[in-house]
Amino acid sequence: MKKNNIIKLILIIVVVALLVVLPLVIKNDSTINLVILVLLYILLASSWNILGGYTGQTNLGHAAFFGVGSLTTRLLWVNGVPFLLSFLAGGVVAVILALIIGAPAFKLRGVYFAIGTLALAQMLNLTVGNILPEMSYNPDLANYQLLPRYYLFLGLTLITILTAAILVKSRIGLGMMAVREGEDAAESLGISALKHKLIALSISAFFAGMAGAAFAYYHVSFYYYMPFGSEWTFDPMMMAYIGGTGTIIGPIIGAVFFVLLKQLLVWNVGEYHLIIFGTLFILIVLFLPGGLVEIWQKFRTFLTKKTKRRKKVLLKATIQNEDGIQRE
């Protein structure tokens, strides 16, 4: 077990180090943009997973927080507020939105919560489109550089993953999972379901909002309502499911897989990757609720069982041999 952890730690350090030096080695902008896209999706899928995977509340309005984050940051930044301040405001406003809608939304249980949050995101999408129909341009256009954007996304993604990893090991994280497994049972043990849901929603919203803020910093031009689009909810949700909800690595695998699939298939025809991704998502929901992570775990237990068996066979053989020797 301990050896396993050391290997894991070394692997993580290697991957992070590779990601840090990547733009210094590969000076190709399109590759860096691609990695940024992966990081953005990891951010969204991991933040969705905190509420959707660990707390069991299917949030179909994740785009609302992403959108509010990008809108806040971009609006403040365009209007001359220092960047760092507008950047942080993106996450803060997303949390404020989460706290405002959280209490009434969590009065809705299960599927009502899902369609309620979907309605909320659609509402914001339409309203923002009505009030701010114009295109927004990056105020930093004159000296736009990709490198700081890349590191911003990388840093944010690492913080999100780290926070999620620490959170789920904590008391609150255990409470969240208890709520997922059975709200009434959790309540009967003295775990406040509402409190844990609200905490999970706020953290989830905060990182979605920060993702939006980074998006506002990164994108050259976009319509203000664009980040509110439902695809910013559904794609990350599918990534989390395909990778494996309720795990740290799941959303990361899902996001990498999604972008790879997109890249592989983009050469042939339009949006074929979404058709394949959608099919895979359905198969996983129906037959393999643990996602790709579960496949891997099953595979690993299968392997260890096999090696254990082989060891046993070897052991038996030696014992027999020893017996034989003794008999002689």
């Binding site: 299917t58 299960g110 599927v111 009502y112 309620g116 909320l120 339409l126 309203t127 439902s230 959608g278």
Partner: protein, 293 residues
């Protein structure tokens, strides 16, 4: 002023009938099977395209193509049930709703992209010579395509009620809705009932799609908007409550038209969503639903 308000209200009611029809299929499916098929809007889209191609390639009048649309969507619904939704029937109710919701989202992504691939992203619509005609009653205009909505909705509401109330299959469907375990003990083939209800719900979505193609326009990304409307109407009317669904549709239509009149047509859909959230929070059993639902 008063006249144009009246005009708005009439339009709201006529459009509301369409919302009711769109939600009718969703509500039927949910009521019987407890599948929350959020790919319903995509079924509406397929119905619209079926009529559009029947019109542009075969020259078939959109209203005459309705039987064709029904057959296509009925078969599609049956296939979807067999292939996908039937896998969830053994789950307990809450996870069944959640899983079908997720699965249907996957389906809507697939359908949207298939439609993009095969029907292109162009907006389509159907216009024939008599569509511009209208009659006036008490100073209020009644354009024919909008009146057709009401007529078609009423016809299909009656057909559905007749099937449910007068036929053996209808009785089986109603029994299954009330208690599937008891129904299955009485020798009702639950799988068949589920399959039929799902296919019928899909066919109703197809009919609604024809009306959408006639009155609005159809495009591959239209699904979510119509699913949202159907969900709003279904929740307004009470889950699985058929007469309630039509009334819910009329309420949504009126809400939208009065919002366009007093505020701005840009906020039409937002008003519907606000109404939806309010009902969800304060009366999740629907405006006409009973407490236990």
């Amino acid at each position: 002023m008063l006249q144009s308000l009246g005009q708005n209200l009439v339009f709201g009611l006529l459009v509301g009938a369409l919302y009711g029809l769109v939600a009718l299929g969703l509500s039927l499916i949910f009521g019987v099977t407890k599948f929350l098929n959020v790919a319903h809007g995509e079924l509406v889209m397929f119905g619209g395209y079926a009529s559009f191609y029947a019109f542009s390639m075969l020259g078939l009048d959109p209203f005459l193509s309705i039987p064709l649309t029904i057959i296509i969507l009925f078969v599609l619904g049956a296939i979807l049930y067999r292939l996908v939704f039937s896998r969830t029937i053994k789950l307990p109710e809450e996870s069944k709703i959640k899983n079908t919701l997720l699965v249907a989202f996957g389906l809507s992504v697939i359908f949207q992209n298939l439609a993009l691939r095969f029907f292109t992203a162009d907006e389509r619509g159907i216009t024939t010579s008599y569509f511009s005609q209208a009659f006036t009653l008490g100073g209020v205009r009644f354009p024919l395509p909008k009146v057709a909505i009401l007529v078609v909705t009423v016809i299909f509401l009656i057909i559905l009620q007749l099937i449910l109330k007068k036929t053996y299959t209808g009785k089986a469907i109603r029994a299954t809705t009330q208690n599937w375990e008891a129904a299955s003990l009485m020798g009702i083939d639950i799988h068949k009932v589920y399959l039929l209800s799902f296919a019928m719900g899909a066919a109703l979505a197809g009919v609604a799609g024809t009306l959408v193609a006639v009155n609005y326009s159809i495009q591959p990304s239209m699904g979510l908007g119509w699913t949202m409307k159907a969900l709003i109407v279904m929740v307004l009317g009470g889950l699985g409550n058929i007469p309630g669904t039509i009334i819910g549709g009329l309420i949504l239509g009126l809400t939208e038209s009065t919002t366009s009149f007093f505020i701005s047509s840009n906020y039409r859909e937002v008003a519907g969503l606000v109404l939806f959230l309010l009902v969800l929070i304060f009366r999740p059993q629907g405006l006409f639903g009973s407490k236990e639902a």
